[in-house]
Symmetry: C2
């Protein structure tokens, strides 16, 4: 568990896209973001207060979060100056970079000296159990995709926000790097050893109030041959009561697999529901989220109307039109 709130380190991000993780934190957990720390050449701006390490510390920040992709896969000397100074001032560090904080001898040495914790959210730091399949109390919702990167995390975050705005009990459960940094907690599922994947999902979504919903962040796709095992562990470990089907309609092929095509939404529904019912016989598919970023408004509305008619399920782009109708469907479960 990463201590919040954060000072968001944007470093020398060349552009806004490079600061995607920091943007996600600011968008979804603005209370977690005390301010941003930018180096002189930074090309990104979250439109929150620029702060020095001292100012943010004064404002309550506990952890300096690296909210930016690094260039060339290395943690630069210029970054390290800031990271080391932060630790000396009492900050913990958190990062989702492939290049681990814990593999940098100088950072490790200062952490040992200052007592700072280095959070590398790409590696699993818990010994997860093997899944026991025992029915848990509370309810769970999982988005499953026709492909990777079709908006599953966004859908879960948007539904969680809508739920909480309605005064309903909801917790977003992060299963990937960005999600973990946004909330400060979660399971880096793609880094968990095979035998413990489903157990890690059970650990992440424990018994809860009967009217509480876990909004579980999806990963991969049952139809993506590189990552389908991870998705399967979510479907079985998560015991979802409700599934959302997620889709991006303009892909020419599966992400990273030029000779593979996305399944239809009907194919996804049938396979995902059959498998989910193994873990929870009462599971239902309750809605469809479409990532329409590559369609104009008219195309998007027409496409979703067509899907809704064909599938008989509320179909929305939560980014474009909000997650309200998906939450309506969840409330009806």
């Amino acid at each position: 568990m990463i201590k919040t709130p954060y000072l968001l380190f944007l470093g020398d991000a060349p552009d806004q896209l490079a600061a995607k993780v920091a943007q996600g934190i600011k968008d979804w957990r603005p209370d977690n973001a005390v301010g941003q720390y930018r180096m002189p050449s930074c090309g990104a701006d979250l439109k929150i207060a620029d702060m020095t390490l001292a100012e943010a510390k004064e404002a309550g920040a506990k952890t300096l979060v690296i909210g930016v992709a690094n260039r060339g896969g290395i943690i630069s000397a210029a970054w390290k100056e800031v990271l080391i100074e932060a630790m000396r001032m009492g900050y913990d560090l958190a990062s989702g970079l492939h290049n681990l904080l814990s593999e940098e001898a100088d950072l490790v040495a200062v952490a040992a000296e200052t007592g700072a914790t280095l959070h590398d959210v790409r590696i699993a730091s818990v010994d997860y159990p093997i899944a026991n399949g025992i029915k848990r109390s509370g309810k769970r919702c999982l988005a499953v995709g026709t492909d990777c990167s079709v908006g599953k995390m966004y859908t879960a975050l948007a539904m969680d926000k809508e739920m909480r705005e309605r005064g309903l009990k909801s917790t977003f459960r992060a299963t990937g790097q960005t999600g973990i940094l946004i909330t400060g907690d979660g399971v880096p599922l793609d880094a968990v050893v095979a035998d413990f994947m489903a157990g890690a999902v059970e650990y992440l979504t424990p018994d809860n109030d009967a009217d509480h919903w876990d909004m579980i962040e999806g990963q991969g796709s049952l139809f993506h041959v590189s990552y389908s095992g991870v998705t399967m562990a979510l479907v079985h470990g998560g015991q979802p009561d409700a599934l959302i089907l997620s889709h991006e309609p303009t892909r020419e092929h599966m992400r990273g697999l030029p000779t593979y095509q996305q399944p239809t939404l009907a194919e996804l529904r049938d396979v995902a529901l059959t498998l989910a019912k193994v873990g929870n016989p009462d599971c239902k598919v309750i809605g469809i989220s479409v990532n329409t970023q590559h369609l104009n408004e008219e195309e998007a509305v027409a496409y979703m109307a067509k899907v809704e008619a064909e599938m008989g399920l509320p179909t929305v782009d939560p980014f474009r039109h909000g997650a309200g109708r998906l939450v309506d469907a969840l409330e009806a479960v």
Copy 2:
């Protein structure tokens, strides 16, 4: 890759069952087993030559394989005396124990001194790639089960043996500890990090002659919520051309999951084939293997005749009646 042939270390195995791994090596790769090493209190016997370390060395043994489960989860002082002497004589060591050789400081020290290799087949020692899904040459067969431990490894080994006896090109591809020790090579799939599972299976079953079959060792079950992600990686990473359905008809519930029931063979067929066709649209279910160890001969024959009629697929217990009919079906693909 573990150097063969082996001297099989049975140690102080209390009974035959405790020497299951050694028995598997002797049954399936007798050429890999130069002899057995038993301590005075050993209650197991593989009915092969008892040898001292020196005698087996003389006979060509390269690796001392721990073919026995250890008591209490520790590698005892009595075992270590033998293991250390073996390394001093030039042996490598191989083990599938949870208690790793590489975690025993005294063994590690002697290995460093003598140049011996310590093979812990429960841990992944290769950096496997992420699966790329590219179609590979050659053919592959995978057994998928209605549950864990229903005879998938046995089925693959028996089919591989029958194939080779017929002069056909076949390689058994091990994905678990016992299989790896039997053949000296393989991937410990349950120990691979989630993102790399399917890639590990691709690595294990590379391009091959057009008429060559990989007989891939199955793991878990698509319907077993604890391990289904591992099975999924085999179904997608393996790109099987042929699936065998494996079943044990007397189970009262899924292994280790008292409230879960096994699916029907028809349910398994439908889900497994749908998923396998994502990776290989030409995949076919070609036969059924039944583990009838808890049925008498008459019950077994009647049960299999009933399944064969219902499913329209050759149905055999390869242990009881050989794998010939499954290989016939494979040859017809």
